[in-house]
Amino acid sequence: MADILGANVDEEGFLVDLSDWTKEIAVEMAKHDDIELSDEHWDVINFLRGYFEEYQIAPAVRVLTKAIGKQFGKEKGNSKYLYSLFPYGPGKQGCRFAGLPKPTGCI
């Protein structure tokens, strides 16, 4: 099994044990994807982690865009903005960096 900074990840790069998550792991995962995490990335990552703590699941895309728009300005409240931060999708790539499980289904 592959690992990132000593934490096990599955074949899709998601943490096996979610409690292993650290900021350093997020930075390292992003580096593998050629992304340098900016404050804007962290805003999203922190929101994802907060939502997950409350609901035990990643937020729906619309919930995420709306919340980001409310907190950080309307021009950021859309999926195009989120895709500019996470080109592989805020759901899949964002959740991976944030140490959430991979969203599954017809998505």
Partner: protein
């Protein structure tokens, strides 16, 4: 399969490619493990005596489903199906010719279940099920989306999807399952949807959506959850709550229900239309998922069950729910709950209904109105989703599954064109991501398989400036969002049919109650009289001035 692969430019005409042997050879999608296998009743890893178990399972399927045996025996290798599969057309791998893919399974069947194959295997192309063959099964039966286009052209009507389903069921029985499907099924049969969205998160998501719609339109469209005694139970793919563009179609359903004034609900216990049990060929798992819907319908005491925009959900609902759950006619005589449900359902709607049928009916009756100009910037074409097109009907009229969605679309927008005839309706090309292939680890298969549909789309983009692609299936929508940009299309051009409905529907603004209206009128009259009196006085004053 290579990690990096070239996406060829789209051809002007779809041609039959020269074969490239082993072009798509590979390890197949990620395999499932014990965590995902066991809850479905499958072994957690490849069992020791897997060959024997597999052959026994084949024997069981052959006698349980007579169709499987007929399909295995009937093929005469005429080759009519060879160039009909989008995966073959897009990949050139000869094992993706439907007849060749099926033959991976059929040759083993022949070896163990036919006289000639048992005694003269080489003469009849009968083969042993060894490790290499199993690897080929795993790889190539996950390059079939069970779309059944090939079956349309088969002179014997062989349902190739059923062979793929059987192969996957045999593989699950020996502990070789696919991660994507089986992980999702585990969530669907324990939590109630493919996402694993628990009730509080679902409730919160719906409240959020209500807020958004009211802010945007000024109309309080509701998304009721677990409302006992509602007329309609809506069963929709959970992607409708979660993903884009799906959610904009979901907003459309809500507006239609609101405008019609019908009472409806969703269920947090059965919050999924999709049923991947069909993809893995397991009747038992498919039934488990479907029974949640029956329980929800009984508990909520609804009188109609309706399905949202989901292709295979509609196939399962239309073709299998009756015997699986008792929605529709045909429950087993001793199935107490199925009979109870049949008595409970409105006798006018014993069968499940599709949301398109519902909206279509309201349009026919003139009960909802549209401002079609809201969609004037769009030139629209419709992608027939495979399971709707080739495994179901709508409206109870011949070809209704092709007619109704198009009539709904044309009722809400002014510019509509169809793609080439050989790529739509019963001959529709699969989106490339159906049948349990909508996973990132199959991206090469998905992109190559999308090529024929993309080619037909490119043609109408050139000829008619089409800029909007409509689908009524959650898988199609997600797949297109991902693959459209690979072929130089805008990923946002894929929308739900009900997104167009949503944009054009004329919503009644909220009415104030009667006393408020009365006071309003009284104030208006009062002001009018006052102004009149004032003018008169002024006039008189003027006159007085003149007299002076």
């Amino acid at each position: 399969m290579a990690d990096d692969f070239v996406i060829e430019p789209l051809p002007t005409y779809l041609e039959i490619p020269a074969v490239k042997a082993d072009a798509m050879r590979g390890a197949g999608p990620f395999k499932s493990n014990a965590e995902f296998q066991n809850p479905l009743g499958f072994p957690g890893e490849k069992v020791d005596n897997w060959q024997q178990v597999a052959i026994d399972k084949m024997g069981e399927l052959k006698s349980k489903y007579r169709s499987v045996q007929v399909f295995l025996d009937a093929c005469v290798k005429c080759g009519a199906c060879t160039d009909k599969c989008h995966y073959f057309l897009g990949s050139s791998d000869p094992k993706n010719m439907p007849v060749a893919r099926q033959d991976l399974f059929r040759s083993v069947y022949r070896r163990h279940f036919t006289f000639a194959g048992k005694y003269f295997p080489k003469l009849v192309g009968a083969k042993e099920l060894d490790d290499e063959m199993l690897d080929d099964w795993y790889n190539y039966f996950h390059q079939c989306s069970q779309c059944r286009r090939c079956s349309v052209f088969c002179p014997y009507g062989i349902d190739t999807a059923e062979i793929s389903m059987a192969a996957r069921e045999v593989m699950d029985s020996v502990g070789v399952g696919q991660k994507y499907c089986n992980q999702i099924l585990g969530k669907a049969i324990t939590i109630g949807n493919n996402l694993g969205l628990p009730e509080p998160a679902l409730r919160d998501t719906l409240l959020d959506l209500e807020e958004e719609i009211e802010e945007e339109t000024g109309v309080a469209v509701k998304y009721p959850l677990d409302v006992k005694g509602a007329e309609i139970l809506l069963i929709t793919p959970s992607a409708d709550f979660f993903a884009e563009p799906h959610i904009d179609g979901f907003i459309g359903y809500g507006k239609v229900f609101h405008q019609d004034g019908v009472s409806w609900t969703m269920s947090s216990y059965a919050s999924e239309g999709a049923n991947f049990g069909m993809f893995i060929g397991s009747y038992d798992v498919m039934r488990k998922a479907a029974l949640r819907i029956r329980k929800a319908a009984l508990d909520l005491e609804v009188s109609r069950v309706m399905v949202g925009e989901c292709g295979h959900a509609w196939r399962v609902a239309y073709s299998f729910w009756n015997t699986l759950t008792g929605v529709g006619a045909g429950a087993v005589a001793n199935d107490e709950f199925a009979l109870k449900l049949q008595n409970q359902l409105d006798s006018r709607y014993p069968q499940p209904q599709h949301i398109i049928e519902y909206t279509h009916n309201l349009i026919q009756q003139g009960r909802i109105q549209f401002d079609k100009s809201a969609n004037d910037e769009r030139v629209v074409t419709f992608h027939d989703s495979c399971n709707v097109a080739r495994a179901s009907n709508m409206g109870g009229i011949p070809n209704g599954q092709f007619i109704l969605p198009r009539e709904v679309i044309k009722a809400v927008c002014n510019n509509y064109v169809d793609m080439q005839r050989e790529s739509i309706m019963e001959s529709t090309f699969c989106c490339g991501g159906g049948g349990g292939l909508l996973t990132d680890d199959l991206m090469e298969v998905r992109i190559k398989g999308a090529m024929p549909r993309m080619q037909a789309l490119k043609a109408v983009e050139k000829s008619d400036a089409v800029n909007t692609l409509v689908a009524i299936c959650a898988i199609c929508k997600s797949q297109f969002s991902k693959v459209l940009p690979k072929f130089d299309f805008d990923p946002y051009m894929i929308v739900s049919a009900h997104q167009l409905v949503s944009e054009a529907i004329i919503m009644d603004k909220p009415q104030t109650d009667e006393t408020e209206i009365k006071t309003e009128i009284e104030t208006e009259i009062k002001t009018e009289i006052e102004t009149e009196i004032e003018t008169e006085i002024n006039d008189k004053t003027d006159e007085t001035v003149k007299i002076d």
